[in-house]
């Protein structure tokens, strides 16, 4: 792992994280576990009342998947700052894939700081999240 991180350079791609289709069960479990109880993600009646055909996934579920992408690449303590914009909703049964590419590496103190561009993309090509992370490298 350490050796791999020392070789990180502009253009390095993180191993993509492809998720299975998001089930209603996943949305229910995520609502309870995360603390995001907004009914529009778990209750079709509430979705209908809001003029929608169905519930849709929490944006923060996709950001949590991006978190998995990052922490499977570097120990979590190396993650200093990150942000994501929510650009499209994720429908039930959507299949997100998380990707990341290193776009900058600069010296910082004893180590290096890498900037990673992040994306979550559905099977039809829709980008649902777009973000950036700052990661400390050896």
């Amino acid at each position: 792992m350490t050796t791999v991180l020392e070789q990180v350079a502009v253009g390095t791609e993180l191993s993509p994280l492809a998720l299975p289709p998001i089930s209603r069960t996943t949305l229910a479990l995520f609502a309870g576990a995360s603390g995001d109880h907004n009914a529009i993600h778990i209750d079709t009646d509430a979705a209908h009342d809001a003029g929608l055909d169905d519930v849709f996934a929490h944006g923060m579920l996709s950001m949590a998947y991006l978190g998995r992408l990052l922490t499977s690449w570097v120990p979590q303590a190396r993650l200093r700052h990150w942000s994501a914009r929510f650009t499209a909703i994720t429908p039930v049964h959507g299949e997100p894939t998380c990707t990341g590419t290193v776009t900058a590496v600069e010296a910082a103190g004893d180590g290096r700081l890498a900037t990673v561009d992040l994306k979550v993309t559905l099977a039809d090509g829709t980008v649902t999240l777009s973000g950036t992370a700052t990661v400390v490298l050896p």
Binding site: T26, A33, D36, M63, A64, W82
Partner: protein, 155 residues
């Protein structure tokens, strides 16, 4: 170019919510790991976490968002200031980490609305809420939540 936000949204800038205090529980972290399909045992097995050098289960990167959301009643706060909740979307979320958080920690979340602006000729207002997360007075993380408010979206 961003322009000034509508009066209702701009009036929230500078407002602070009552801080909330939350215990970070092992069971909660395990449930969260299961819900997001996290299989790295560091996030669910105390022995694996300790073997990796952690004092207990680490809090994964995004869980601070929900721990705050669950207690702080931010939507109620915004509704109390005249903002139509049906028009509110989560536009952007940022996290800055200073110190790792572990199961067993007691955290305090203190939030303030720090900035508001509009785009798209006033059709969209943006409202930034900054949350400082502290443990025994030590700053451990900051969260920036940008809400998008669609003016005239709801009939």
């Amino acid at each position: 170019m961003p322009a000034p936000a509508s009066a209702v949204v701009a009036a929230v800038v500078g407002r602070r919510q009552e801080p909330v205090t939350v215990d970070v529980e092992r069971g909660r972290l395990r449930m969260f790991a299961q819900a997001i399909g996290e299989t790295d045992p560091v996030y669910s097995d105390v022995a694996a976490a300790r073997a990796a050098g952690h004092p207990d289960l680490p809090a994964p990167p995004t869980i601070l968002f929900g721990l705050d959301l669950e207690r702080a009643d931010t939507l109620g706060f915004l509704a109390g200031h005249g903002i139509d909740l049906g028009a509110v979307l989560h536009g952007e979320q940022a996290f800055t980490y200073h110190v790792p958080v572990y199961a067993g920690d007691t955290l305090t979340f203190a939030s303030e609305f720090t900035e508001a602006y509009s785009k798209a000729g006033g059709k969209l207002d943006f409202l930034v809420r900054r949350t400082r997360v502290t443990r025994g007075g030590e700053l451990v993380a900051e969260l920036d939540n940008t809400a998008v408010i669609r003016n005239g979206a709801a009939a």
